[in-house]
Symmetry: C2
Subunit: 417 residues, 2 copies
């Protein structure tokens, strides 16, 4: 079975899905949720087999944890599908409209993309989440998960397809593509005309290879080298709380802070507080010479930062840190090393806040708030298919509307030009 | 001078442009318009040299006409710049916003892309149009025109750059890249990270090669195999007027009709009127066997249509034509051969109109109106950088907002997660 054949069947299914009513899609989502609950035992058995194989192959504990399902995690997947059912249907929304001087009625209406390809790494819960959001937005989905999760993903997809078919929508709206070979990723990336958009979710190298090799349009997601800049006009207690939260509340995610920039006017006072607090929270700081010497003065060891440190998305309890002479110098540092995900300033100065938000080029810019808030759930979107770090189509957390395109519908009474 | 160097200077300029006020941008646009008027003689001299070389190389008359400038055409370019100045500034528009439960103020704000690359064919007026729209939307632009228009384009860009600099904005916001070698197109397509989006404007082969080889995100434009479907419930006089207008009012553009589909219930009556009228308008019809035999009955020669005819974007006074047994058959034909640009139905039936508009997958769907209306000017956008036939980011005519991305600006008082 080639990807092109899968994609053609997805395309057929997408034509039905594009005109399915919200009621039909929501009842399919509820059926999918119920089926996951009913068939949890089978899904966990498949997951056990994946876990055994992964342990045998020496997979690291953190990755094993991401791969592992439990009855609670399956219930969480079912809840996610029910939440998707409760969200408004983006399809059919009139984005803008007007009556033209010649009497033509112009409407720009949201429509599904058609076929969405998702390429993702170990976590099997993405399978249900992505399938649910694509179905709700009227898209057929081709899921290409990690080979280490193949049995889990296949079990989940079999359950979802049965439920979709029982609810009267085409099962081929949800398909798993062969995860054993690298060729399936390549085929997916070359399926222009059959697949409308590819969304890679995973590590930087996966995303880079998809972005560089795909002829299918791609939405780039997720790499976050996020900075917190502590301005000279910052409330230093607030700054400390934000830095510690942004770095340590969940270091493995893309909206965690990876770098700290401190205005030289407050560097002594702030770092005298922050370096011990970060050490106590288990953070290793990689600093510029000034941070290293302030660390020595505070009795906190600071490693010297390299170029690689400033560019790193650590995804761990490491943090690069530099003292900067001015806000423009902070912005220049961010322009050089940032990944365009989330950048934060802590300041009491309106002028500094305005300068930072207007000159920093990123999907999200925070003023006096943790970088961790860049998230579809936190933003109130109700769901998230990923966080786009590109500028085309969608930037930042992507909810259901970001899984749609638009169509102009123009109605007249015989107008000619 | 490599493209990467050009792009780096464009990137520098774009940082200034991104925060330029509307007033500053509009006065630069007026300065550009005035400078084109003042320096028309020099531009026409450069254009004469291009025309001489093109004639020497045996360029076809239609292409020579597209390449040729006149005082009127230069004045038209200046008018275009003044119209761009009069349009609202898309930058800074708040697309959506809310206050989150935790008190964070969320704003999604339009921002420029940064650096836009435009790859286009012979017409030198695109140079000024594209430069003006990019500047108004806060983007720096890298223009890669046709080598046959190199002298004209360089003269125009020199005038525009001088005017931009005199108005206090960076001249490097507008740059021509080497149009002599194919390598410059390749370099532009590989300048990911330096160029934010590429917009190819031109023939199908140019667009295909950019779409397939570019690692920079691309907005695909312009190929139009547009259909007019005459439904069984059509007003046949209206249908005739729309078909003749869509085919003949300007056959060389992408929103011209290339194919006619007629419901079998009205095929005899409609084609008995339409085939002679199309012949009188100079149109050659390539028909299915039924159209060929109706042509013979009406004394109008009809060529037999091949698969290639149904797939063709003729851009000439040729038209493929087929009789279809039903509306779904018309939609299936369009799904098979259409390019997703503009599809029209002529019908008096609300049910047929709803079925057609909801199941046809195209940038624009017309009901009882000519395909020729798919146009930024006609849609009231005031300007058009191209017509997107892809689903990502922009679909259909692209105005100034389509030349922007967005940024989330989130303002708090120390919120952590």
């Amino acid at each position: 079975m080639t990807i092109a054949e899968d994609a053609r069947r997805a395309r057929e299914a997408s034509a039905t899905l594009a005109t399915a009513t919200r009621a039909a899609k929501d009842s399919a989502l509820h059926a999918m949720a119920d089926a996951l609950a009913d068939r949890t035992v089978g899904i966990l058995a498949a997951n056990s087999a994946d876990l055994d194989a992964a342990r045998g192959a020496g997979m690291a504990t953190a990755l094993l944890d991401r791969l592992a399902l439990s009855a609670d995690r399956v219930a969480g997947m079912a809840d996610g599908l029910r939440r998707a059912a409760a969200l408004p249907d983006p399809v059919g929304e009139v984005v803008r409209g007007s009556t033209l001087p010649n009497g033509l009625e112009l409407r720009q209406v949201r429509v599904p993309f058609g076929v969405v390809g998702i390429i993702y790494e170990a976590r099997p819960n993405v399978t249900a989440d992505a399938a649910g959001l694509c179905l709700k937005s009227g898209n057929a989905v081709l899921l290409r998960g990690s080979s280490s999760a193949a049995r889990s993903n296949e079990a989940i997809v079999a359950v979802l397809r049965d439920a979709v078919a029982a609810a009267g929508l085409p099962a081929d709206a949800i398909q798993m593509v062969d995860s054993a070979s690298r060729d399936s990723v390549k085929e997916l990336m070359r399926a222009r005309g059959l697949v409308d958009v590819l969304i890679p979710r995973g590590g930087a190298s996966l995303i880079r290879s998809v972005v560089e090799d795909s002829t299918v349009p791609v939405i780039e997601t997720g790499v976050g080298n996020c900075h917190v800049y502590v301005d000279e006009a910052a409330d230093l207690e607030m700054a400390l709380s934000i830095v510690v939260n942004a770095k340590t509340s969940r270091p493995s995610v893309c909206n965690a802070a990876e770098s700290l920039l401190v205005h030289s006017a407050v560097a002594d006072a702030f770092l005298a507080m922050a370096l011990p607090a970060l050490r106590d929270a288990g953070v290793t700081v990689h600093g510029c010479p000034e941070v290293v010497s302030l660390g020595a003065a505070a009795g906190v060891p600071v490693l010297p930062a390299t170029e690689e440190d400033y560019a790193a998305e650590y995804l761990s309890l490491d943090l690069s840190a530099a003292v900067v002479p001015s806000l423009p110098a902070a912005v220049a540092h961010i322009r050089r090393y940032g990944s365009g995900h989330t950048e934060a300033i802590v300041t009491g100065s309106l002028e500094a806040a305005r300068a930072f938000t207007s000159t920093v080029d990123a999907a999200a810019v925070m003023v006096n708030a943790s970088t961790r808030f860049t998230d579809g759930g936190e933003f109130g979107f109700g769901a998230e298919i990923g966080i786009s770090t590109q500028k085309l189509h969608a930037r930042g957390p992507m909810g259901l509307p970001e899984l749609t395109s638009t169509k102009y519908v123009v109605t007249g009474s015989g107008q000619i030009r």
